[in-house]
Amino acid sequence: MGNFIGKAVKRREDARFLKGAGTYTDDIKLPKMTQSAFVRSPYAHAKILSIDITEAEKADGVVAIFTGKDPCGDYGVPCGWQVDFKNGETMREPKHPLLAKDKVKHLGEAVAIVIAETLEQARDAAELVEVDYEELPAVTNPLKAMEKDAPLVHDEWEDNAAFDWCIGNDRAEVEAALEKAHHVTVMEYRNQRLAPNAMEPRSYIADYDVNGDRYTLYTSTQNPHLIRLLLCAFALGIPEHKVRIVSRDVGGGFGSKIYHYTEEALLTWASKEIGRPVKWTSDRSEAFLTDAHGRDHVVKSKMGFDKDGKIVAHLTDEYCGMGAYLSTFAPAVPTYLHGTLFQGVYTTPLIHLNVTAPFTHTVPVDAYRGAGRPEATYLLERIISKGAQEMGMDPVEIRLKNFIPPFDGVEQEGYQTQVALQYDSGNYERALKKALDKLGYEDFRKEQKKAREEGRLLGVGISTYIEGCGIAPSAVVGALGARAGLYEVGQVRVQPTGKVSVFTGSHSHGQGHETVFAQFVADKLGIDMADVEIEHGDTDQVAFGMGTYGSRSLSVGGSAIIKSIDKILEKGAKIAAHKLEAAEDDLEYANGKWTVKGTEKSVSFGDVALTAYVPHNYPEGLEPGLDFSSFYDPGNFTYPFGTHIAVVEVDKDTGKVELQRFVAVDDVGNIMNPMIVDGQIHGGVAQGVGQALLEEVVYDEGGQMITGSYMDYAMPRADDLPMIETDNTVTPCPHNPLGVKGAGEAGAIGSTPAVVNAVVDALAHLGVTDIQMPLKPQTVWKAMQN
């Protein structure tokens, strides 16, 4: 351990945020900048009969109005992942137009953009655009979308399936094992749609420079280089070297800011048309209607147990809604980010998952914190607890019976699952036991018994999750349909004075990279953190990158930086050896200097840096400069795991659930900054609890969204949550240099089933075995009455 790694170093980015001096995209004003507003469909499915812009064009301040009939209507944004049908048919990828031309396919789809001098003028003029629609029947539920007479989202295909997919053992074999099982537990439910709700709404400014023929797009994205690639190569067909993407401070993402959105491409196109910068910032109502949603799986699952409670087989069929178009990563979410986790932390010998992914007349669904893994974990952790309940076993006992035994990935091999992956290292029992101790499980059971006698409904719920992150080995994901590599780039530039600039393709939108990355860079170089600056979020500054999602920044982005540091130290040693007139092998590097072993002779990092740039007395044949860039392509995913335990009390008269305690013991591998890891867990848990108790995007039958504002979409507020009791076990990742696994999504993945298990446990004696999320008071109350 060095001076900084593993310490709760306070964040360097905080000062600007706390003083209101952050630079979020909407804070940027460019000279001659115009503002824009969209005309959006009020229907989920309709023919556009006509669009009349004559009145709107005459309105004050209007600069331009574009509709799908303009050339921009011929462009569309691409999907970044291809999952073909089981029978070999190519994935059905509809065109996702920048503006709808003939038909709208989800509520809120853009039909026109109005550009004006001020925002008020743009909004006023947008109200004057007359659109005549013929409303058509819509389908919003993924299961119903596959029914015979369901309205088609895209007329070019005979049904609504975008693709289907399966993973695991032979279905017949799994079915046969279920036939013979001692007990079969069945679950049928919908993992409901969620709105990610980063607090900063999406915001873009496109600025085309006529004289230089260059585009700059300021965007609230999690992955600027990926946006540039998709925008240039696929959406607009413009040369990549003419485009700069800037993504400074971004107010949260949670997945929703990964995707290349139609507005980004449209603004970029429009800026060239009008020859001026154009800004658009979503309001919250638009965010509900147009930000990619999460989840939306309709699930039917059966898990078979033998008489001792050992799992013998697990068979699942899912209908996973894609929305009206395929968003950037959408096909990967219910497949490779989902099915590959069906092993969980258990030795289940036979697993089969079948996925049908239909289009629905709704906004596209894509990755939302955890992306496929919370859905897998919810199913596994609920069904094993339900199985225990039905068989009269304790939820701890059944887990201990089924756990994969500990393995470190070094002495013992990684664990090969039935669903394609090889886990890197894990000790699931240790995390469970630590969490049970922290909670005081035995005492709680006594307290629960006593409370029940008093008529109070207390419950405890356990979730022993695993997730796959550190996305991802390019060759593997390439074989699975990714249309991009998922490596990361890290450049370390030692300045002549020995100060260090690090350029990372990872992107911070709350994760604190400016601090954490500087911590390990300073330690590895043996210099002070103050001498290290972390730069991100500008494609003109950072060579390349794939961005931040899937808890990959440290394990993939951090490893790329480490690779460059290794190169710096290797070259530095050559320069140092020359200066010290010693052999390289005789040098050792520590505390910021190279020392000739066994002597006092040394040269500092700063001296070597200066020599590299002022190479008057320099090793022959060595290039000047001390600046390296590296690509790091991970050898495997990483597999954080842990145990989450929730304690709830249900009000017997109203069904209201009070979350009283939440214990989270997470193993995220080595920890660079425990303060930040805890913060990530707190936030993830809050989102997971939100799904369990409060959140749900509801479309009515006709495709209208009836939860389109904070008055109707319930997100956790401060008084919905207790303090989160966090702790860790540490099982280092064996295949990356920092030994880290990733902490961004763990909280959201592990927590949801813990809460639902706790509520079901509180009501178990009333015969309740399952409740549909979110566990609103009326839902719980109804379950209690049956």
Binding site: P42, Y43, L107, L289, G702, Q704, T707, G708, S709, M711
Partner: protein, 149 residues
């Protein structure tokens, strides 16, 4: 969204019926109506501006009356468009004499909304509809009083 309610007016069904069938009266008493243009008998084009709480907007579209049974009731068909969304509604209105020269009006129907109107949530919209209905009957009552005087 379900629409349901009743109101007792201090006039006979006969007079109330005459008033409801008179576009001039309707234009006067219906909240927010700026213009009511008869396209054909029982079929109007309406321009209105509605402002209740957070719901505010200019509506434009058709208003027609069907299934008329004199002094007993009719069905109102409303098809209104606005920037905040569109409303299509069918409301069945029945009249019954009550007490001394009074009329009990019962109305029941279903409204389908789209766009912001729908997403702002039904609990607000039903409040808006209830406020508008109250305003309608209050204005009607005032008109009746004016006629009596």
């Amino acid at each position: 969204m379900k629409i349901k309610g009743n109101y007792t007016l201090s006039t006979t069904p006969e007079i109330f019926w005459q008033m409801v069938m008179d576009p001039d009266v309707l234009e006067k008493v219906t909240p927010g109506i700026k213009e009511l243009k008869a396209l054909s008998p029982d079929n109007y084009e309406a321009l209105s501006e509605v402002k209740v709480g957070p719901v505010r907007g200019n509506f434009k579209g058709n208003l027609s009356i069907k299934d008329k049974v004199e002094q007993e009731g009719c069905t109102l068909v409303i098809d209104q468009k606005s920037k905040m969304g569109n409303v299509i509604a069918e409301i069945v209105m029945t009249l019954a004499p009550e007490g001394e020269g009074q009329t009990k009006v019962e109305y029941t129907g279903e409204a389908k909304m789209s766009g912001t109107l729908a997403s702002m949530g039904q609990r607000i919209m039903s409040g808006v509809v209830s406020t508008l209905s109250k305003q309608f009957f209050k204005s009607m009552e005032a008109e009746i009083a004016a006629r009596k005087a």
